[in-house]
């Protein structure tokens, strides 16, 4: 029972801090804000240059070879500075699938491009109507010579408007159980017959899309893993998606922002920070957060010891997203009347308030956290079945 950092770990932490302080400079921060996806690519390329863009990849493919503790240190330092994580669709999701199930040719072609952020990826899982029942997907891929012809539609596709590639689950066979006959395939977004329809979110932003496939021709060699075994591939990926989803460091950072802001909000002479009701709501979150941090560390320790992030990672997802939303709610509360401010070009000095619109966007965007990646209800079903053994 020990969390003391070793001398090596402390040295590593210094290196991380030094790197982030240097590279995540004012210019980089401005680019991230103003350039959207291009700013993100720029940041990922800086990480690539340092060799740190893919902490979870095996060393032979360009990973860092970090220990679990090092990964934790990296994650904490990054989040505490409010630095966004890398866009996961390429570097985390499809890369993991290609490494585990891909052909040598796929690995050689795609992995270096992903590592260098040369391709922007998006995820084609959900479909209009499929929701949490992912296996009910209907997008069809029919064999035609050396190609597949894809017809159907994917939805909730984050950043599809920026994407060069999309990885999709498609149905290649209708005859068996719904989990069978699904195939995992990589599709060039420049292919003829692909149409991206924007979806404006409840946060008033355009991050989501519907992607239509009208007779899109895709080479059969773009299938990853066996034809018809896409469900197995997808399941392996889902567990990866859930680790780190607790977002402990992000929540910590939110709490820090909350305390700062609550100290400068005043109700009739009393700082919000000193309001007993507000203090208790902060305390309730922090108590759970302190616990969640160690729940995450326990999971990491299990993984470091060679274990696998099993259904327990569902707990991290549920508790983490609940706490994320709780902090987002507190931020809204701090903003008071200003929580309703929409994105605007107005100078905060004119508006009279700095963080209202940010609080709103974070809160609204945060609604998705309990829905995507397997809704929290589905996570509870998973725990119930696989951890508690209830049928």
């Amino acid at each position: 029972m020990d969390i003391a950092l070793s001398a090596e770990d402390l040295a590593f932490r210094d290196e991380v801090r030094n790197f982030l302080d240097t590279e995540f400079d004012a210019e980089m921060q401005a680019h991230l804000k103003s350039r959207g996806s291009k700013g993100m690519v720029e940041w990922q390329q800086k990480l690539y240059a340092k060799g740190w863009v893919a902490p979870n990849w095996p060393v032979e493919h360009g990973g860092t070879g970090w220990t679990a503790t090092q990964k934790y240190i990296w994650e904490s330092e990054r989040s505490l500075r409010g630095i966004p994580d890398v866009v996961p669709f390429g570097l985390v999701m499809v890369a993991n699938v290609i490494m585990a199930f891909g052909t040598d040719e796929q690995k050689e072609y795609f992995l270096p491009r992903i590592l260098k952020s040369e391709d922007w990826w998006c995820q084609g899982y959900s479909e209009p109507g499929s929701g949490s029942d992912l296996a009910s997907l209907k997008t069809k891929a029919e064999r035609d010579g050396d190609d597949y012809i894809i017809n159907g539609a994917k939805i909730w596709t984050t950043y599809a408007q920026h994407a060069d590639w999309i990885f999709c689950l498609v149905r290649t066979d209708n005859s068996g159980k719904k989990q069978e006959g699904i195939t995992f395939i990589l599709v060039d977004m420049k292919s003829e017959g692909i149409k991206v329809n924007p979806i404006i979110g409840i946060d008033n932003e355009h991050n989501l899309n519907e992607v239509e496939f009208n007779n899109v021709r895709v080479p059969a060699k773009n299938v990853v893993g066996e034809v018809g075994k896409g469900w197995t591939v997808a399941k392996a990926l889902l567990a990866h998606e859930r680790t780190g989803i607790a977002g402990v460091a992000d929540i910590k950072r939110n709490m820090r922002l909350i305390k700062e802001a609550a100290a400068s909000e005043v109700n009739g002479g009393q700082r919000l920070m000193d309001d007993p009701g507000f203090q208790q709501r902060m305390a309730d979150i922090e108590v759970e957060l302190m616990a969640l941090e160690f729940t995450e560390l326990r999971t990491l320790a299990t993984m470091a010891a060679g274990g696998f992030p099993g259904p327990e990672s569902s707990l991290l997802k549920i508790k983490g997203t609940e706490l994320q939303q709780a902090t987002q709610e507190l931020r809204m509360e701090i903003a008071a009347y200003y929580q309703g401010v929409l994105p605007t070009d107005m100078d905060p000095e004119v508006l009279g308030h700095e963080f209202g619109s940010d609080a709103r966007r974070a809160f609204m965007y945060g609604r998705a956290a309990t829905i995507y990646g397997g809704s929290n209800e589905v996570q509870k079903n998973i725990i119930s079945k696989y951890v508690l053994g209830l049928e």
């Binding site: 959900s126 929701g131 949490s132 029942d133 009910s136 939805i155 909730w156 979806i199 404006i200 979110g201 409840i202 946060d203 008033n204 989501l208 909000e265 005043v266 109700n267 009739g268 002479g269 919000l272 309001d275 007993p276 009701g277 507000f278 709501r281 709610e329 809204m332 509360e333 903003a335 008071a336 009347y337 200003y338 929580q339 309703g340 401010v341 929409l342 605007t344 107005m346 004119v350 508006l351 009279g352 308030h353 709103r360 609204m364 609604r367 998705a368 309990t370 829905i371 995507y372 809704s375 929290n376 209800e377 509870k380």
Partner: protein, 380 residues
Amino acid sequence: MNFDYTEEQQMVRDSIARFVQDDYDWDTRRAIVDSDEGMSRENWQTFAELGWLSIPFSEADGGFGGNIVDMSVVMEEMGKGLVVEPFFPTVVLFGGVVARAGDEAQRAEILESVIGGETLGAFAYVERQSRFAINDCKTTATANGDGYTLNGEKVVVFNGENADKLVVLARTSGGQFDEDGLSLFLVDANAEGVSKVCYPMMDAQRVANITFDNVQLGAGALLGSEGGALPVVNDVVSEALIALASEAVGIMGTLNAKTLEYTKTREQFGVAIGSFQALQHRMVDSMMAYEQAKSLLFKALCEYKIDPASAEATIHALKVLIDRNGKLIYGEAIQMHGGMGITDELDIGHYAKRLMMINATLGDGTFHRSKFIESTYAAA
């Protein structure tokens, strides 16, 4: 003991419901929200013609002479339809202040044109630093020979973009937090020295930050007694809180109904998601949250009707419950709608946003819980 609405109230209710049903479908509303003014002048005239704008005003002032229950009926129906026309800022706030504080001449001048739909109004009471403390006021009105000079800024003024007339809360004496020394002034939105920046809010309200730079007001601009504004404002706030709670109850009921309907038709894993027991029990919780909010609104209405002062603790409690149960209900509505729930396209998110702004208006749950505790346990 009865909780029925009168026949007249039922008629008003039906008339608003019919308007929403026939003339305020979702696409129409969206077009109004996206229009330049963010409201429909034509609808506003309809409201005037149907008499809705006259409801809270006394017959002497040319109004319908309605009581708090009449007001509640209107607001609940407006909530159900998510009506964006500025009924609350113009009639409840602006009209409420003028009706209470104005002398006969002022009431005659203003209320008739409010009732007639010619004047849109706004009540400017929030400042950058004030949060929910209405007494926290830095805007000043300095007496000069014939009147007052107004200086300062008000922010997030509801209907500030379209209002023709403003009531401005300003300090005629005392320090920033003093309860005495506050006065109310009627100010023309186009008067010299008045400037504003306008912006839309997430609930489709058009608000403004309004700056007063040496605005010259005649003596007749003063509403009520100099320095004695706070009790009047508190009365208006009490009524406004009940009005907002009524709107919230309308929204909560609508969100529950829409969500329930959705869970009956939306299929997942081959069955309607409403067949999942875990969701059923949560929908029962949402239903109970709605019924409890409605009950507490009824309590506030009954008490306020007998004696407004007796309803103080209940009104604080009501805002607390509306906040808490509102969060539960819109949270569940979004969650149960899944991906659709987080799109701008669906109405669910818009109902949620209005509920959120209601919670943030005139004090949120945390604020009113403290007030409730103060008013209930202080002497114990």
